[in-house]
């Protein structure tokens, strides 16, 4: 039983690490801030959340598991909010889009 929980925890930790690497790769390779923000904000919560779930599996302790699940809930709420705040601030301070995206508030390819 403990063995099974440890196997599941190991797989979850590996999946979390993989999500983090893919998010960082998107952060490095994507062309402008908004696409990078998409990669980081989409891959970040699964990366950390899977590690948290793995902690809940391997600890087998109700106090730790409940705290960690609350942490996951908080992460799921705050990360989109942070990404939205950052994108809004960047748009207002005039960070440019790539040529491949169009701005729906001013029409396509408007200066």
């Amino acid at each position: 039983m403990i063995d099974l929980a440890q196997y599941v925890g190991g797989v979850l930790v590996l999946a979390g690490g993989l999500f983090s690497v893919l998010g960082a790769l998107g952060l490095l390779r994507f062309p402008d801030l908004y696409t990078r923000l998409h990669a980081a904000a989409l891959a970040g919560p699964p990366g950390l959340g899977l590690v948290f779930v793995a902690i809940a599996f391997t600890s087998l302790d109700l106090a730790i598991s409940s705290r960690v699940l609350i942490g996951i809930g908080f992460l799921a709420i705050t990360t989109p909010v942070a990404a939205h705040l950052l994108a809004r601030a960047a748009k207002r301070s005039g960070v440019a889009f790539t040529d491949h995206t169009s701005d729906h508030t001013t029409g396509p390819k408007a200066k």
């Binding site: 930790v13 690497v21 960082a24 730790i64 942070a82």
Partner: protein, 96 residues
Amino acid sequence: MSGAQFLGFATAAALLLLGLAFILTLIRLARGPTLADRMLCLDTITMLAASAIGIFAIRTGLYLYADIAIALSLVGFLSTAAFARYLISPKPGARR
């Protein structure tokens, strides 16, 4: 292979993956053309550090570190919100 052995291998591999992600993020942090890119990188680095602390908690069995990882992710959100606020704040002396 017993469960504990597999867990040790998996956490070591995940720490290596996190190190790779950290290096990729640092490259973008050094290169990033705008301030907002660098803020995004700091946010990502905070999340990577929280993941590393969580994996360390699993490796050592000291589950006290799980609390530290949760607290660090909370602080990461607050710092991003504060930086975003700073980015759209008017320049000193400018009329609102």
